[in-house]
């Protein structure tokens, strides 16, 4: 039986059922089950967020006494007011994250695309060797301790944003994914460029890149998401002497370290012990995550494209 695996981006191809064919009783049950199950699962995906948002708009004392709920308890914007009274650290974190994300995505994307193009050129004799060179790093890695020592001692990048920025620029998977995307562009394009006397780089920039728009969007978004959600490298390499940490690391501090929570609203001069800890944490979390939740529905199709293309040939 032939099975096609879609490489395309659109996936909502409906299976139409002919009216002529009887609907058997199983169909009804299965359909009902489908709606219920999927519905419940979707709800389960949504509820934790609702809890968090509700809590951020609740009164601290009620929450700590009676717990989280679906609806805000004692509706108040107190936590947000507190943050906006002293938003310096939050804004700083946002700036750092946005700059890193934008720069990292642009630079990384360019390098990944360039490399992906070169590697799929059948007339490039070194392609396979380089591909293996890159791919091998997924099979065997030095480990955390040697990498840590290397980055801090020898590259001297402790407390530098570069320690975070550089390491997220690309990954083997993205390069291979890009290579697969570029493969679908016919070699004739490159050939015609060569006949016009253009060099490989020129061909890449003027002819190939414009045709790669969907691929660039997909890979770019993966890169951007990686930068936006980054907290691990920040935790390793950025100590407390770095004032503005990437957003998720900042959130980590606020959630897990009482002192960081205090510092996050330091300018508002709240007397000790009067911090609305839980609601403040929730409000910070909402502010740190908000953009992602609002943006992702618009770009999810690019992620889907990435998965489907990538899953076929790893």
């Amino acid at each position: 039986m032939e099975v096609k695996i879609n490489k395309g981006i659109t996936i909502n191809k409906n299976n139409k059922v002919n009216n002529i064919i009887k609907k058997d009783k199983y169909t009804k049950i299965v359909h009902a089950f489908a709606y219920v199950f999927i519905g419940l699962f979707a709800l389960a995906c949504l509820v934790p967020f609702i809890l968090m948002v509700s809590a951020s708009f609740s009164t601290e004392t009620i929450i700590t006494k009676t717990g989280f709920g679906i609806l805000p308890k004692g509706f108040t914007t107190a936590a947000y007011d507190l943050i906006f009274k002293s938003p310096r650290v939050l804004i700083g974190s946002y700036c750092v994250t946005i700059i890193m994300t934008v720069c990292g995505t642009i630079v990384g994307l360019f390098i990944v695309a360039m490399t992906g193009y070169a590697l799929q050129r059948k007339d490039f004799p070194y392609a396979n060797k380089i591909l293996f060179f890159i791919y091998f790093t997924t099979l065997f890695s030095a480990g955390l301790a040697p990498t840590y020592l290397w980055v801090t001692q020898f590259l001297n990048l402790k407390d530098s944003y570069l320690a975070v920025f550089l390491q997220l620029l690309m990954s083997p998977w993205l390069i291979i994914l890009m290579k697969n995307f570029v493969k679908s562009i016919p070699y004739e394009i490159t050939e015609s460029g060569k006949m016009d006397g253009a060099g490989d780089f020129r061909i890449f920039v003027s002819l190939i890149l414009p045709m790669l728009k969907p691929a660039l969007a997909t890979i770019g978004l993966f890169l951007a998401l990686g930068y936006w959600n980054e907290w691990y490298n920040s935790m390793l390499y950025l100590s407390s002497s770095v004032e503005y940490k990437p957003l998720q690391n900042y959130l980590y501090g606020v959630i897990n370290q009482a002192q960081a929570l205090k510092n996050s609203v330091a300018g508002a001069n709240v007397p000790a012990g009067a911090l609305p800890t839980q609601t403040l944490k929730m409000a910070t979390a909402v502010l740190a995550t908000g953009p992602i939740i609002f943006l992702y529905p618009f770009v999810q199709k690019y992620f889907i494209a990435g998965i489907t293309v990538g899953a076929v040939k790893g």
Binding site: F133, G273, L275
Partner: protein, 528 residues
């Protein structure tokens, strides 16, 4: 496969070459470039080159702007006197043990001055690891003459390793840093309790808070490893005559003690021997079950002191110096009438060791580029009256005032939790220049007098343990301690006795006996 094998080999070789080349470089990092400070032919010091000196201290960086204002003035003076300026780098309390050791591990060459301590900041292990620069007597005499004069030869001897001086002790400052529990006197009275001086009574107090004070957590402690170890250590202090031996950290724990002040050179570990640790585990389980701290204490991070000030925690844990300079005055302001008292862990057993002179000590970073100028700055910070006051108290009139009795007062409206300078100069305070703070607890002198009647000098000042033969075992034991002590200390176990047995079994498997024997041998040999 050989094709792949060859590629792998090539890659590894390239990597190895790169690594070892740079590795060699890193090793010789400590060779200094030309010094920034030197002695001229006529004997005076050449400070023509302006340098920035970095001082690493522990604490949370203040955000109230007072530090910046004071430092401006301090740096004016420093520029005048030694053509240098001082920059403070804070290792914040969140995760301080990790951050402090990581900072040293990275061999940062921008560290000039750094606060350290032999009892709580692992000075000896760090000296052995080569984190600090040896200070020759010449260096000290030339660049920190006043300090050199003021420290006795005997005290200098206690700062030596392998014949070289590495630390400048804070040896002329009266303080007691023995730990204990803070509790509210007013509530204790309510519960019909007098002064609390042992764990059993403390339990009764906590129960009282649980029963009678709604909305207050008896002791809202964070279940960190540091707090767990402190609690265990406190219990041992209260119930045995054992004396802690500094400089042998097992991860974040201290396992090894001398038997008693009359039997100093017999090694023991109350964690392994006797029933003390079992009793501790059982008691803590009962405390946990009774709800004296949060259910999720091991995942909880809160600032207990602040909560106590806000009336939301009934107790806190720290030492005497903090009590009479900080906690008690603040409680009197924030919770008037609370009559905060302290139950020192040393009280029931009268087992008290005076604060060792290297509880606060200054060291110079091994890769510092300006050690001479750094020493000169330290000398001024410690001995120059004007700079001492600026650095420790701030700008006169704004941050502090000198009362008619020559004591330290604060301007109206000054709130320690909001306006403090927090330069945390815990390695060079000086009784000669120190102003007694009028805000300090008036009972301070009495407390100190009481302690002085039975406290002994730290007996192991000259004993520095050489762990080179047992580093693997110690690392393994550190793992075991990290696994068991926090949960035992906070009672998060089903069967305390079984847990303690398991802990001991694993410690033995990790090589406890070998380490014990090694320490005992060296300890006996250090007997003078």
């Amino acid at each position: 496969m050989s094709k792949i094998g060859r590629k792998v080999l090539t890659a590894l070789l390239i990597g190895a070459m790169a690594f070892s080349m740079v590795g060699c470089g890193a090793g010789s990092k400590s060779t200094s470039a030309s010094s920034t400070t030197s002695v001229k032919s006529d004997g005076s010091i050449d400070t023509s080159q302006h340098v920035k000196v970095k001082f690493v201290v522990l604490g949370n960086k203040p955000t109230n702007g007072r530090l910046e204002s004071a430092m401006e003035k301090v740096n004016e003076k420093l520029k005048e006197k030694v053509n240098a300026e001082l920059e403070i780098q804070y290792v914040e309390w969140a995760d301080w043990q990790t951050q402090y050791n990581l900072l040293l591990a990275s061999g940062d060459s921008s560290i000039d001055l750094i606060t350290t301590a032999t009892d709580w900041l692992d000075a000896w292990p760090n000296i052995k690891k080569g984190s600090f620069m040896p200070l020759s007597e010449d260096m000290l005499k030339t660049y920190a003459p006043k300090t050199f004069e003021s420290v006795s030869q005997e005290h200098w001897n206690q700062c030596k390793y392998d014949g070289k001086i590495y630390l400048i002790p804070e040896d002329n400052y009266t303080q007691y840093t023995n730990h204990g529990m803070y509790y509210r006197g007013d509530w204790a009275k309510e519960f019909g309790l007098g002064d609390i001086n042992n764990f059993q009574d403390m339990g009764k107090y906590l129960q009282g808070v649980k029963d009678k004070k709604t909305g207050v957590i008896p002791w809202d402690v964070s279940g960190t490893a540091a707090n767990g170890n402190a609690l265990a250590g406190g219990y041992i202090n209260s119930n045995t005559k054992n004396i802690v031996i500094d400089g042998i950290p097992i991860g974040l724990s201290t396992l090894f003690y001398g038997k008693s002040k009359d039997d100093l050179y017999t090694l023991t570990s109350p964690y392994m021997e006797g029933t003390t640790f079992d009793d501790f585990a059982t008691l803590m389980k009962s405390w946990s079950d009774a709800g004296y701290w949060r259910e999720d204490v091991l995942n909880y991070d809160g600032t207990t002191r602040d909560l106590m000030y806000a009336g939301q925690s009934g107790a806190d844990q720290h030492h005497s110096q903090t009590y009479y300079t900080d906690a008690r005055p603040n409680m009197d302001k924030k919770q008037p009438g609370s009559d905060l008292k302290m139950f020192p862990f040393s009280e029931p057993s009268k087992n008290l060791v005076k604060t060792v002179i290297t509880h606060g000590a200054l060291a110079i970073g091994a890769n510092s580029k300006n050690p001479e100028r750094a020493l000169m700055i330290y000398d001024l910070l410690r001995n120059d009256k004007e700079i001492y006051r600026l650095y420790n108290y701030g700008i006169e009139g704004k941050d502090y005032v000198v009362t008619s009795e020559g004591k330290l007062g604060r301007p109206d409206g000054w709130d320690k939790t909001k306006d403090a300078l927090d330069t945390n100069f815990w390695c060079g305070r000086n009784d000669k220049l120190e102003l007694i703070d009028t805000n300090w607890f008036s009972g301070r002198d009495e407390m100190i007098k009481n302690y002085n009647t039975y406290a002994i000098e730290y007996p192991y000042g000259q004993f520095i343990f050489d762990n080179s033969k047992v580093t693997t075992e110690i690392a393994a034991m550190a793992d075991v301690c990290a696994k068991y002590i926090p949960k035992i200390a906070f009672g998060k176990v089903t069967d305390p006795k079984a847990e303690v047995s398991a802990f001991r079994e694993e410690l033995k498997a990790a090589g406890y006996q070998k380490v014990f024997d090694e320490i005992q041998t060296q300890l006996k040999a250090s007997k003078k």
